[in-house]
Subunit: 343 residues, 2 copies
């Protein structure tokens, strides 16, 4: 699909929602000054959309504020919509956009139920639009660099992966306390780390066994504070995801994001923003300089224009969401869940 | 049980087997110079017992060499026997010793089948001897220190544990290539890390889901190169064990042994021999000085004499072995295995 030049060379974007990582959009705006934010909406009456207008103004954008996001899409007919509204609306908003031929840059997970996800996949397949998820950690310098190393053979065939996502709990808005509006900690906190697993290994998910618990959640209702997932992939690759809100309040960063990937020729790790590699060419464990010049929204726009092969396809976004939701199901039902049963 | 003073004040020990970590015995001999090694045996005709005599001589010991270990036990009637013979004989040798009233210091895992383990537990319960396993990593300065910190409340109630044991594959004797003589990689490599889980958390194992594979094992028959275990414990504590032989040959140490324990008030980690703690009393993550003045054989002898509460009881040794064997069963059968079904 080619960028519509009939809008005077600018790409028009609408933003929906104030609950997700709109920072990815704003970072992209800095790099692609030809993008114009034409409209914004909170996506729900519960949230205040004016803060989106304020944030946009800091980037020289003057979007029109809408209460009704559908009205906005119909009136403004943007090229792209970013979706970071109520988590339970990601799928529906994305579907509405895709049905209008609008490209979708959606917060992860793109759906919080398997039913919505299936519908989203179907609508996407029938449309001609591009979609991606805000799995921006693929663009994190350390994770990007580590994955490039793996892709270039630094550790040989991947065999075993351990991942960690640990967040500070802090205080959370009420929508985090209900599964119906939050989706669960495995999907919300775990999305990135679960996404890394097929990305680093090149293998496909086959089954998952997971556990999660709401114990010690400081009265936050249905919010799970700790979870552990165990994935089996093709070629007998095994991967774990340790997910929690147990990071102490005084930690230097909000999140402790780690991966260790062991292959037949070496081991690579990301911890505290650094990449560590050991293989038969290194002197013991070496710290690898990390960088990533790409940006997730910029890449997505480039993809729409027929340029860059993105780091993250729509299928990757769907697979990542499916893996989260099947892991959540496994944890809810205390059983091993196989992939590929729901399609 | 009180140390038999009728042997002129010395504690008499026999050593059986050359396949395990006899270093724990030799280190203990340095500290307890009143221990006399009176006899040694390879425990099997396949192995050469003379190397035990040679090693003992370096510690000023002149044991008698036996081909038949039972004959040795019957003739010498030692107070203690160390068992590090063929892995598949650990249980039988230990049982023979216990039935003769001899205390047992046994290589881990103490059994490589659930049937043997059940028999061993029964004989131990009916005897009046002490038994422990060579789970010497409880005495490692970093792990010991980290666990003391946890026991003293540095991270509050434990919620989530991730462990890692990664070894160099190198070349392996033929007995590693068959399950019947090796026992499997989860029990052999994973024993220590699986033992840490109840030790750090104070919780009991409830179920395990695990996976292991012989893929990419360099022709080493039935030896599994990578494995992942996921344990659920009481109080919804979850724990993973990542186990592999993927450590590159040029790594500075044979093993990469790690743990991360997250509690409601902090997180503690052991990596590369150091202990890192973060809680609301630390300035970000702090490195905690690590030390352990205790030694596993010395502790065991002290326990026999009615002294020190050991770091590791017979029950701990049995629980550790059971957890390894149930994890192996889970991996073999691709199903969740519950604890407490076999007793």
């Amino acid at each position: 699909m080619v960028f519509r030049l009939d809008k005077g060379g600018s790409m028009e974007l609408c933003m929906i929602g104030v609950r997700g990582h709109n920072g990815y959009v704003f970072e992209g705006l800095k790099r692609r000054q030809d993008i114009r934010v034409v409209g914004v909406s909170a996506g729900t009456e519960e949230d205040d959309g004016t803060k989106l207008v304020t944030s946009c103004s800091q980037f020289g954008q003057s979007p029109r504020l809408y209460g009704d996001y559908l009205k906005m899409l119909d009136e403004l007919k943007p090229d792209i919509v970013s979706v970071a509204g109520p988590f339970e609306m990601h799928a529906e908003i994305s579907i509405q956009a895709m049905q209008r031929g609008i490209h979708v840059f959606c917060e992860k997970p793109v759906a919080i139920s398997l039913e919505e996800l299936a519908r989203m996949r179907k609508v996407h397949a029938e449309s001609r639009v591009h979609l991606t998820a805000m799995l921006g950690m693929r663009y994190d310098p350390a994770f990007y660099t580590a994955r490039e190393k793996v892709r270039n053979g630094a550790i040989g065939t991947v065999r075993l992966i351990s991942t960690r996502k640990s967040y500070k709990l802090g205080t959370r808005p009420a929508y985090y306390t209900q599964r119906s509006s939050y989706g669960g900690t495995i999907p919300w906190v775990g999305s990135h780390s679960i996404d890394w697993i097929p990305w680093f290994s090149g293998e496909k998910f086959r089954s998952v066994y997971a556990a999660h618990t709401t114990l010690y959640n400081n009265g936050l209702g249905e919010l799970e504070v700790s979870a552990m997932c165990h994935f089996t992939l093709t070629d007998d690759v095994f991967a774990s995801a340790s997910i929690d809100y147990l990071r102490p309040g005084n930690a230097p960063t909000h999140g402790d994001n780690r991966i260790r990937v062991a292959g037949i020729d070496g081991v690579i790790e990301v911890r505290e923003g650094n990449v560590y590699l050991i293989n038969n060419d290194t002197e013991g464990e070496e710290c690898v300089p990390a960088s990533c010049s790409r940006q997730i929204l910029e890449d997505f726009v480039d993809q729409i224009e027929g340029g860059t092969e993105p780091l993250l396809t729509a299928e990757d976004a769907f697979i990542g969401a499916e893996a989260c939701l099947l892991a959540r199901q496994s944890a809810d039902e205390c059983r091993i869940v196989e992939f590929g049963q729901t399609d």
